[in-house]
């Protein structure tokens, strides 16, 4: 099946005092209609930046380069400003991390959704309002017709996130990007939202990119999983495959340092030593090398690891794996 989205060699750089700082480095992935992709990684690994380039809303100072960002047969890089506007919200929509910040505090929920609808459709206010009620209903927003007259500040966090979802659904996009859409919510609400997104995605046949740093969530929502570290993709494949059989030392380290419901002190966590690197401080070589327990001396410092195949569709970027296979991993 032809993927709706195919990203090839995407890089994002920011100008810095001492040359450019690369925050997304040579990232490639693709996504088929109706499937979901989880992008996971620690804070600052470039997840949000990668997503924002897909909507052309990366900060003005960002320099985005890619061989191609294919979207339904077009290259997003080549769109004019006006064409971009037609894609944003209508074909690709985004749900942001912090619903409080993402909604304009001075404009009612209704007005914001109506605006989003009318940005792409020539329709009357009343029609747009009806659509607003409809999508709010889909997003599980109770009593939409009345409560959508509220300002965002009058809603709870969970409800605000539902408004953000409704906003994303407003123009029936083919792809929804959810950037840490549940991170600020309580676990119980997070569970509801994740369930809702999954259902909507199935029902409406949308593709979904879900960004998170919680590998636990990745398993619940994603068909595919992309693990990022310091702007690099280090492991990519079907979520189940990657989580059951992580083949990059970083993915392994993450899984072992995160407590699960089964963990206890008898079975202590194994922290990854050191700190996540500052962006731009990687240079050439393997991004994880400074914290890696099994780095290959002389290779990891100089050469960027290429993809090795660890299973069907399961790719790993690691010199050690390339050299020693699963045996060499910690």
């Amino acid at each position: 099946m032809e993927p709706v989205l195919s990203v090839e060699n995407l890089s994002v750089r920011f100008p810095g005092r001492a040359g450019d700082i690369t925050v997304v480095d040579d990232l490639s992935f693709s996504l088929e209609a109706g499937r979901s992709l989880v992008i996971a990684g620690e804070s600052g690994s470039g997840k949000s930046m990668a997503c924002q380039t897909l909507l052309g809303i990366a900060p003005g100072s960002a320099r985005v380069t890619a061989t191609r960002i294919g979207w339904r047969g077009r290259d997003l890089q080549k769109l004019s400003q006006e064409d971009w506007r037609g894609v944003r919200g209508a074909e690709i929509a985004m749900i942001f991390q912090d619903p409080t910040a993402a909604l304009n505090p001075l404009i009612t929920v209704e007005h914001q959704i109506v605006d989003a609808v009318r940005a792409h459709r020539r329709c009357s206010r009343d029609e747009a309002r009806a659509r607003a009620v409809e999508v709010l209903g889909m997003a599980g927003f109770p009593d939409a017709a009345q409560r959508m007259k509220s300002y965002p500040s009058e809603l709870s966090g969970g409800l605000r996130q539902r408004v953000a979802i409704a906003l994303a659904l407003a123009n029936a996009p083919s792809l929804i990007i959810a950037d840490e859409a549940t991170t600020n919510l309580d676990v119980s609400i997070q569970a509801q939202i994740v369930k809702l997104l999954r259902e909507l995605q199935k029902k409406l046949g949308m593709a979904l990119i879900f960004v998170t740093h919680d590998l636990g969530l990745a398993a619940e929502i994603g068909d595919d999983l992309l693990v990022m570290y310091a702007g690099h993709a280090v492991e990519y494949g079907p979520a189940r495959g990657v989580l059951a059989d992580p083949c990059h030392p970083y993915t392994r380290g993450l899984l072992r340092s995160a407590p699960t419901l089964k963990s206890s002190r008898d079975n202590p966590l194994v922290p990854i030593p050191g700190q996540p690197p500052q962006p731009g401080s990687i240079g050439g070589g393997a991004p994880f090398r400074s914290r890696c327990p099994v780095s290959v001396a002389g290779v990891c410092e100089t050469a960027r690891p290429g993809w090795s195949e660890a299973g069907p569709g399961h790719l790993v970027a690691c010199h050690r794996f390339a050299q020693d296979g699963r045996r060499g991993l910690p």
Binding site: S188, V194, H213, A219, L243, A244, L261, S263, P271
Partner: protein, 274 residues
């Protein structure tokens, strides 16, 4: 719900705490009960977990226990005696310390790390000024930081490093009990594990008791001996960690447990489906 009352030395206890805030909304003043008749006690050497959803009153309760907030009703007791006046609180704070949630706001942005760490020593006159630097260096090493860090400003440190500095500062007065309010929530998983390990390590070495607040049940399960589950300002369930987790009795606890994203469980589920 009343916890068993213990009068033995070294026990920090909050008894029948009620805290109401008056919130003005639309011009009307409303009372919000943030904490409703809650009792907690920590025995020496124990790690007590406090878990519950956002806004259930965890922070409020913990701040009452260190005296940053005053309870509407109820009292805090330490070593069997009620903590009443200023002097009592000052004394209590020599034995009980508090670590704040956000590593980025809990350090004075204009003060070097060394100075920040030496402050408790200066305030309480714990040692001669000449010995302070040495003590600071030793404490930094204890929390796994290079003594050079003393010369830095907070903004030159990463979140994990700052949280270590916060811990170190609380430990400068050599407390017996440490109250930690969501101290790992803001950290990346890989760093979170480092801090959790450090806490366990410190507890061993310094014979600390901990009140550990988190909304992440996975962390609580890993770290705590005993757990209290809070819901809407009340404690709805408490007990040994393993028994609460394996055998939750309250509906709310069950909902919480069910909602935890967990890859092992998800994988198991997928495996079942496959």
């Amino acid at each position: 719900m009343n916890a068993a009352v213990s009068t033995s030395a070294g026990v920090l206890e909050a008894r029948n705490i009620v805290k109401t805030f008056s919130v003005r909304r639309e011009g009307r003043t409303r009372e919000v009960r943030a904490v409703n008749d809650v009792s907690v006690a920590v025995a020496p050497g124990e790690i007590v977990g406090l878990v519950g959803e956002s806004g259930c009153g965890k922070t409020t309760l913990s701040r009452i226990m260190i005296g940053i907030e005053q309870p509407t009703q109820g009292e805090v007791r330490y070593g069997g005696k009620p903590v009443a006046d200023r002097a009592d609180w000052a004394a209590l704070r020599r034995s009980v310390q508090y670590v704040f949630q956000d590593p980025f706001t809990a350090l004075c942005p204009t003060m070097r790390i060394g100075k920040a760490l030496a402050e408790p020593l200066a305030i309480h006159g714990l040692c001669a000024p000449s010995e302070r630097d040495g003590k600071v260096a030793r404490m930094l090493e204890m929390v796994g930081l290079h003594p050079d860090v003393a010369r830095r400003m907070p903004n030159q440190l990463s979140g994990g490093q700052r949280q270590r500095v916060n811990l170190a500062r609380a430990l400068m007065v050599e407390p017996k009990i440490l109250i930690c309010d969501e101290i790992v929530s803001g950290l990346d998983v890989s760093v979170q594990a480092q801090v959790l390990q450090l806490l366990l390590d410190l507890k061993q070495r310094l014979d600390l008791s901990l009140i550990f607040i988190s909304h992440d049940l996975r962390v609580i399960r890993y770290l705590c001996d005993r757990v209290l589950v809070m819901y809407l300002g009340e404690i709805v369930e408490q007990g040994e960690t393993a028994s609460v987790f394996d055998n939750p009795r309250h509906d709310y606890t069950r909902t919480l447990l069910a909602a935890i994203p967990d890859h092992s469980r998800a994988l198991a589920a997928m495996a079942d489906n496959a």
